[in-house]
Subunit: 331 residues, 2 copies
């Protein structure tokens, strides 16, 4: 949500001279993404997003992220396409940071997703999974079981030092730690090993899906993308798109999401069976990162902290679910 | 430098329905201005800046600021033009904030102004002063002598409580307080009373002047504009545009600024005589606000704090100046 690296007009002119993108007419720092600095660039030909990667993104992962966007964009998935400079390079440097220009996507995220948005999302997610099948690079999911355990350790260490509260809940730190440890243990013993895997987005929240004239116009922000169970990506979307603000589950939206996904990429029985478990895992993953961000963000920082208790309530919901049909899936 | 107020797509759709601006295709929060929330709006017809005024701007001043922009834009000064809705209103409300849409200006600020930029600036500043002559609203300058005294009091109170340092200087707080009080006393006894007055921008730093293809393309950010001595605006520009980063004065740029101003609006002898004094006042004004911001901004806030000592060095420079000719002014 901030411009961490300031770019001067002369640096930008110098940088853009290597591209065939037209003449610079305007550039503005935009408040997008917590991790990187982004500029919206206008030229007399077109618009672009220029991203400077701050230290939170591991440079060695950039070829994977950028290669994936290019792979998907050239396989009929609407997402930002990295722009090659005149020498064919995508990954450059600007202001001492790795820097990439991507095409600008029209559209904007919806703050209150409806049934039709979830239906479009399901189709787009399935198509993205299919399009990713022949992408050659690999990146393990650092935020799966092992990552959750490490994150839990850091959280336990910090949470035991003082009493923490957040908007939605006044929960005793000890109780939260107990819930997290129990859930970790539960998932560790049951996490599947043999579901269909592939490229997943892993962070496909409403913020990262654009609509234009009520049609899905693009997917953005692939900086958590990795190889993992495809159905886990669906479970993340169930968490991110199909709950009301009070964390009650909206089965209409869930049904639209799952059944449109199923039409484009039929789920195997094993995936359906695993869905409640995967949804618990996804809820735990966002519970953990939100707690971590909450307790590590200064209270007066100009960054929106997301209420972790939202995912505590979602986790509790998934703990009650016995089968995919309860999410609205129709065989 | 931040998006303080988040706007949902449905709120924005509702808001834009009252305007004849085309269909929304994209909106992004932009990192512009420390005081307000700004969105860059794309429609299928054009681009606009949507500003939500945060609490730092006094609502009662908005008719002055918006009226001034409209007055100047319709008097041949390139600046953002407030957009009227279908009912003729300019000042609206969105997200619980006063909200205004203005036209988008092509161009961008130069980080290292050259002689030609200063010459263009001088012409634009003089033209703005002339165009403002028949603007009917008035707003006193709250950051002149009285304002400086009040600000000094607040700074003294806070600075006496601990030792402060900033990048450019390790100066004893007591010495800084002495310099400020001496300068205030000096200016109070000599500040002119009878120079030509009118509408001044009062914050025309390089950030607030856009260039396109090396021609000045517009002036922005009128939220310090007020009625005061016209030559004081020129003195602010001398401070903001004509020093090197080490605070040494660049007489080539100063000469370009002053002499191009003079061609469009000839300065009276009294204004020229007062210029060194006005330049001291301008340096003190920015020294005070920078110190105030520095000691009131948390060190870990995601906001760029400007080094106050830059203006201490500029103030000392002006204290040595005897006449406008030393700034490069040619009779």
């Amino acid at each position: 949500m901030a411009v961490y690296t300031k770019i001067s007009d002369s640096d930008l002119h110098h940088f853009l001279a290597d591209y065939d993108v037209g003449r610079l007419t305007s550039y503005r720092g935009i408040a997008e993404g917590v991790q990187n600095t982004n500029y919206l660039i206008h030229t007399d030909k077109d618009q672009f997003i220029l991203t400077l990667y701050e230290k939170l993104v591991d440079e060695k992962d950039l070829p994977f992220f950028l290669g994936l966007m290019e792979h998907l964009a050239t396989h009929d998935i609407s997402c930002p396409l990295p722009v090659h400079d005149k020498n064919g390079r995508v990954l450059r440097e600007l202001g001492g940071r790795p820097a990439v220009m991507v095409t600008f996507l029209d559209g904007f995220s919806v703050s209150k997703p409806q049934r039709r948005h979830c239906a479009d999302l399901g189709t787009a997610l399935a198509k993205m999974h299919l399009a990713g099948a022949d992408f050659s690079l690999q990146r393990p999911n650092t935020l799966s079981l092992d990552g959750w355990r490490q994150l839990s350790g850091k959280i336990m260490e910090k949470m035991s030092s003082r009493y923490w509260t957040w908007e939605g809940a006044n929960i005793d730190s000890g109780i939260i730690m107990r819930i997290i440890l129990d859930e970790l243990e539960y998932l560790r013993n049951r996490w599947p090993a043999d579901l269909p895997t592939g490229i997943i987005h892993a962070d496909l929240f409403p913020d990262n899906v654009f609509f234009l004239n009520d049609q899905l116009s693009g997917l953005i922000d692939f900086y958590f993308a990795c190889n993992d169970f495809l159905a886990y990506d669906l479970a993340i979307c169930l968490n991110a798109w199909c709950f009301e603000t009070d964390a009650s589950y909206n089965v209409t939206r869930g049904s639209a999401l799952m059944n449109s996904y199923q039409k484009a990429r039929p789920l195997e029985q094993a995936e359906l069976n695993a869905l409640p478990l995967l949804a618990r895992g996804a809820a735990l993953r966002f519970l953990l990162t939100r707690i971590y961000d909450w307790i590590n963000t200064p209270e007066d920082a100009l960054v929106t902290r997301h209420d972790p208790s939202e995912y505590l309530r979602k986790l509790r919901f998934h703990q009650q679910i016995k089968s995919a049909s309860e999410y609205g899936f129709e065989k």
